[in-house]
């Protein structure tokens, strides 16, 4: 195989304790022409301080509208092996669990059909197969399905759902995040593979309010575990923490956002009526405290990155439901599908659901999907007096008068 290109700038990034992506590309470059050209083009970007990829381009696999990101070098003469260099987004298994066996098979398949470079994982959660040519797309897809894998989302469709490790390894999981993720993914295969919405739709499942999958910041629907009853408390263990040097007053009590704890040096008292399920005290004393027994999740809606109307965080949509109960999940799906209908009907092109709700108003949105407003949806009621008093109310009054 040919020599690697000279990369004095990139070589600097082989130094230091953190794993080096340059080393990874170099290893691959020993086997793959494309990776050699990638290295060359990247060095050029480092020298010129500018990227060298052309804008998009629609490529894909038969019958799918998403899952492949088309990419072309803007220096195809200099770097012909990456004149196309498309990535495939492959739907990861819930919780990113693998066996060495399945990983090796994936590797073999990708060495055969693509660059041999991956992202484990992309920031939505997919396995990213980084770079192949247009003719290799279908064979890669075939290779994937042979291994039991399928593509993830891209474009205006359901994006690959992802979740925290949840009950698989975490004592705080308030519902089965892996199961719900798998269930939603399987239920919405069509919506995942065939863009049909005004814009993308992301689901992210976190088992408790620590939100280890950052769902509240980057999911159109964020499903975050929580509980209804009292925190489970083991006073003996609390004492042990105190004896071991934890300053319970300063580090726990004074950090409680509900201001509902007190500590007299002997006994920790939680006024659970005002506990906000923030997790802090539990995080600090995992042996002494645990979420209650009546567990479930809060469903939130609408977060996204800033383009176009500014970033949004998800906000409370259903204060409490139990995702481990199949009936409640069925109801949730009905609501989701109702939202998709309304949003697809009335949403503007490239308008995420969070932006859509703000444009039409939460009250109107709820009416359109047939749900009732509850105070949990707001941080506080409106501060401005610009109320669109509901007309039907007045009609009722008028009717009363007519009678």
């Amino acid at each position: 195989m040919a020599e690697l290109p000279e990369t004095p700038l990139l070589d600097e990034l082989e130094k230091g304790p953190w794993p080096s992506f340059v080393k990874e590309i170099k290893v691959a470059a020993r086997h793959k022409e494309a990776c050699r050209d990638l290295l060359g083009q990247l060095e050029r970007s480092y020298r010129e301080k500018i990227g060298h990829w052309k804008h998009g381009g629609i490529v894909g696999v038969l019958g799918y509208g998403g899952g492949v990101i088309g990419r072309y070098s803007d220096l195809p003469e200099d770097f012909p092996a990456i004149s196309h260099f498309h990535t495939l987004r492959v739907n990861q298994p819930s919780g990113w669990f693998y066996t060495s066996e399945v990983l090796r098979k994936l590797c073999d398949m990708w060495e055969e059909h693509g660059s041999g470079l991956t992202n484990m994982h992309g920031s939505t959660g997919d396995i990213i197969l980084l770079g192949t040519s247009t003719p290799e797309l279908e064979p890669t897809f075939k290779g994937l399905t042979d291994l039991g894998f399928d593509l993830g989302g891209s474009g205006s469709d359901v994006r690959t759902p992802s979740c925290c490790v949840g009950p698989a390894r975490c004592e705080w999981a308030c519902y089965d995040t892996l199961k719900l993720t798998y269930d939603l993914t399987m239920s919405y295969q069509d919506e995942l593979h065939r863009p049909m919405f005004p814009y993308k739709w992301k689901f992210k499942m976190a088992g408790c309010p620590n939100d280890c999958v950052a769902s509240i910041a980057r999911a159109d629907m964020s499903i975050i575990g929580t509980w209804k009853d009292d925190i489970q408390q083991n006073d003996e263990e609390v004492k042990k923490y105190a004896e071991a040097g934890l300053d319970i007053q300063r580090d726990v009590v004074e950090n409680c956002p509900g201001r509902c704890m007190s500590w007299d040096g002997e006994k920790l008292t939680i006024d659970n009526r005002f506990c906000r399920r923030c997790m802090h005290c539990i995080n600090v004393m995992p042996k002494a405290l645990a979420p209650g027994k009546e567990r479930g999740a809060t469903i939130l809606i609408g977060s996204k990155a800033p383009i176009v109307e500014g970033a949004l965080l998800s906000s409370v949509f259903i204060p409490f439901m139990n995702p481990d109960d199949p009936e409640e999940v069925a109801e949730l799906k009905e609501i989701v599908e109702e939202i998709w209908d309304v949003w697809s009907e009335e949403g503007k092109n490239r308008e995420r659901v969070g932006e859509f709700i703000q444009r039409v108003g939460m009250g109107n949105f709820l009416e359109a999907i047939g749900m009732e407003p509850v105070p949990e949806m707001v941080a506080h009621p409106r501060e401005n007096p610009y109320v669109f008093y509901a007309l039907d109310e007045e009609e009722e009054e008028d009717e009363d008068e007519d009678e």
Partner: protein
């Protein structure tokens, strides 16, 4: 069409259950508590008494299949071939035999994947494609990430911080890294309006879509040299690149004026404080590859200040909120400029609407 009928589609991902290690299958949903044993190593104890040891190794995210095979080998050697990745792209080995922890750590180190990132430490940087794969990038992703992680590495390898610290990077305002809620965010920015290619625009793009794409209404339909195209009112452009996303004929990339901005004080968890957006700290640092020293310098300075001054469990944003932003600017010595003052939609709500000041 016979071929299409044979084709397997819509099978979804493999069911995760087949990949769970036996100890997890046995104790699924029955974990009782956990303890951090040392940097990068934690133990989860189940109601059954079973103990699961997790060793977390630094993820490269961009990995070759040759590396993944080596990692698979380690999983075979130490934990029955079971492993997982985390939501921040680290690699977790799931052990049942405590005595294998140290040998695994040694092997990982030798492979170039040191362990850490558990507890009150810095974990790896959630990031994006940059010059590796995206057309939109105002900076590289993997390169800065590598440079920053090398610099802050002691805080990955140790648990010496007041709380967790999450860094994220996105190479343009699309913010694929969802950097908008990070303790520290590095964000690629453009600073020049799009250069419109009037020759091709009308062929490549729908003019009404392009006009609609601009959040500040800076784009107007216009005839240029007899061609249907658009005109950008440059004073109204704030370089978001949304026009470029919908229309390839309007690139913003510019080697001299692209660069990165630094944002601080966001968080995601509900622990103590509600989730918060990150806020602008340094509006602009020029791209300085390969190691972006001004970026790493600024970040280590912030981390040092926070580590020395914050209270236990106080995330960066919580600390700044307590000491107030003016104090934080004073401590960092970073100049406060016009750019820091919001002038987008909700600007007024970010003004200081009280006399709660430290003098």
């Amino acid at each position: 069409m016979a071929e299409a009928a044979e084709r397997v589609t819509d099978i979804g991902p493999p069911n995760y259950q087949q990949f769970l290690p036996p100890i997890i299958k046995a104790n699924y949903g029955k974990w009782k508590y956990h303890e951090i044993l040392k940097p990068g190593v934690m133990m989860h104890v189940a109601e059954s008494g079973d103990r699961l040891y997790t060793v977390r190794a630094a993820g490269a995210r961009l990995m070759s299949v040759w590396k993944i095979r080596q990692i698979a080998d380690l999983a075979d050697k130490y934990c029955g071939g079971h492993l997982r990745f985390t939501s921040r792209h680290n690699i977790e080995f799931l052990l049942t035999d405590e005595s294998l922890i140290d040998p695994l750590i040694d092997d990982l180190k030798a492979l170039g994947h040191p362990v850490g990132g558990i507890g009150n430490s810095i974990s790896s940087i959630v990031h994006t494609q940059g010059w590796i794969h995206c057309h939109s990038a105002a900076t590289d992703a993997s390169g800065i990430v590598k440079a920053v992680m090398d610099e802050v590495f002691p805080h990955f390898a140790n648990r010496d911080l007041p709380a967790k610290l999450r860094i994220a990077l996105a190479c343009c305002l699309n913010m694929c890294g969802a950097v908008h809620c990070s303790d520290i965010a590095i964000l690629g920015v453009h600073r020049k309006p799009p250069r419109t290619d009037h020759e091709t625009l009308n062929k490549l793009c729908e003019i009404p879509n392009v006009v609609a794409a601009c959040p500040t209404a800076a784009i107007r339909p216009a005839q240029v040299d007899g061609k249907e195209s658009v005109q950008v009112i440059e004073e109204q452009c704030m370089f978001c690149a949304n026009c470029y996303t919908v229309c390839p004929a309007m690139p913003l990339n510019d080697p001299e004026n692209d660069g990165v901005s630094i944002w601080v004080g966001g968080k995601v968890s509900n622990a103590r404080h509600e989730p918060m957006f990150s806020k602008l700290l340094v509006p602009y640092i020029p791209n300085n590859p390969p190691r972006w020293p001004e970026v790493t310098g600024t970040i280590t300075k912030i981390i040092d200040l926070w580590a020395r001054n914050a209270r236990n469990y106080e995330r960066l944003g919580e600390w700044i909120e307590r000491i107030t932003w003016p104090k934080f600017f004073e401590l960092t010595g970073i100049p406060f400029q016009k750019e820091h003052i919001d002038d987008f939609k909700h600007a007024g709500l970010t003004f200081k609407r009280s006399t709660h000041l430290v003098h």
